[in-house]
Symmetry: C2
Subunit: 272 residues, 2 copies
């Protein structure tokens, strides 16, 4: 019997950091990645629209017989996860819950920082997820809008990145959080710099890593893991011209991005 | 008789720098601004899609009886201007031609730099417009992807903006262009910094200013100018939630942004 793939999607290229961690944690697994490059960004769109788009992408991946779906997008994880879980008969894993759970586990003081895009921070999705797990936690948040373009530009260890990180993180540092959640799929590329600025006594929680760990745990529990001796294949689909996607994607995956196929989604699949 | 308005549109908030110059040059004129915030950015979309969106917006503004249409968006100016001009019975002014014309007029050496988004630079629209006017001109281009998020964040005169400008502009400065076209509607907010970095012997061409000058010239020629004693009214329409639009828009207009109305475009109006 053929082993089924893990499906992963994002509004664009950011989810590739989650794919990278899945490839690292489960190198034997086949993956299908979908980036909705024609309609990125999702953060400025209404919850109804985002839910419909997520439904279309889930249908596309389900037709390719995936065994688990990773929602590698903070916006979709914040607004459309319940709808996707209701509709799909396979496990669905978002990026917010794994990051929030890890933060609550590792924080000693209960003082947790969260950084993300303006949309993610405005949604309070991480704050709610953390408070559900530990109602006494104190959550401090900060939107860092320049981190995404810095990561896409490849400016992750120069003086511009350092000054930007120092400016954004100053208040979080001064308020002495002991844990900081990287609440955006682009931020793992700036992890080194963010760690330098925050100092070695602050634990960084990488949502991408935690999500990959959750995926491994669920597949293990359901006996859906492929034998570790195998080597996974990886396919990439996008909804619009992949020029920028290939350049930035190779940066995100360390040059290991394979062929990228442009596809058209069936809009009738959007009902969830 | 009621005086008709000037219609101005952009994919988002950037075109407000063009509106600002129109308000400055022609304070007596009423204006209608449309920002397609639901579908921004246009730079990653196909020419067919951008042309259809531009047609929908033009129809929306034409129903409000405008006397001239300003396409305050580099992407639309690059791909959809001929289609809009064919379809509309009023003058249509883009942002590329006025900037290119001014650059050719003021450059003594014929060595002209152009900066813009990755999409604008890739389209070569400014290079072609400049070469049409002066085939001997030498045009050097540089995409500056971080300038847009810096302008939206309001980081226009801090150390991050300075270092970013120095990095992007180094080669243009070394190759001794004597004129630099700000080929993106967001860039006028960084004009001071860009001027500091390039040095006082380089002439900056602000497409927004040149576009406003062109609008004044056309309306004067066609005897459509409102008497200078009047004071113009300004209306703002967007296609999605205007939260970020209001905050960034006030930054772009110096706090003078009025009420913003969210509207739905008629997709059947997109045929041009």
């Amino acid at each position: 019997m053929a082993w089924r793939s893990i499906g992963i999607f994002d509004s664009g290229v950011g989810g590739l950091t989650v794919l990278r961690e899945v490839m690292h944690t489960l190198p034997q697994e086949d993956t299908l990645y979908f980036g909705d490059t024609a309609r990125v960004p999702y953060g400025t769109k209404s919850p109804e629209t985002v839910t419909r788009y997520a439904g279309e992408i889930a249908s596309f991946l389900m037709k390719r017989d995936i065994k688990l779906l990773v929602v590698a997008c903070n916006t979709v994880s914040a607004v459309a996860l319940p709808a996707l879980k209701r509709r799909l008969a396979i496990p669905v894993v978002g990026v917010i819950e794994p990051g929030a759970r890890r933060a609550v586990e590792v924080s000693r003081s209960g003082k947790i920082g969260v950084i993300g895009t303006a949309g993610t921070i405005r949604s309070s999705a991480y704050t709610r997820a953390i408070k559900r797990l530990n109602p006494d936690a104190e959550v401090l948040t900060r939107a860092c809008p320049l981190f995404v373009p810095l990561a896409e530009e490849g400016w992750t260890d120069n003086q511009v990145a350092r000054l930007t990180a120092e400016t954004y993180l100053r208040e979080l540092k001064e308020s002495a959080v002991d844990t900081l959640v990287l609440g955006c799929t682009h931020y793992p590329l700036l992890k080194q710099m963010i760690g330098d600025v925050m100092g070695s006594d602050v634990i960084l929680v990488d949502s991408a890593e935690e999500t990959a760990r959750t995926v491994a745990a669920i597949l293990g529990e359901k006996r859906l893991l492929r034998p570790a001796a195998e080597k996974g294949n990886h396919s990439y689909f996008v909804s619009d011209i992949p020029a920028g996607f290939v350049r930035v994607g190779n940066r995100f995956l360390g040059g290991r991005l394979g062929d990228v196929f442009q596809v058209t989604l069936d809009e009738e699949d959007g009902e969830v």
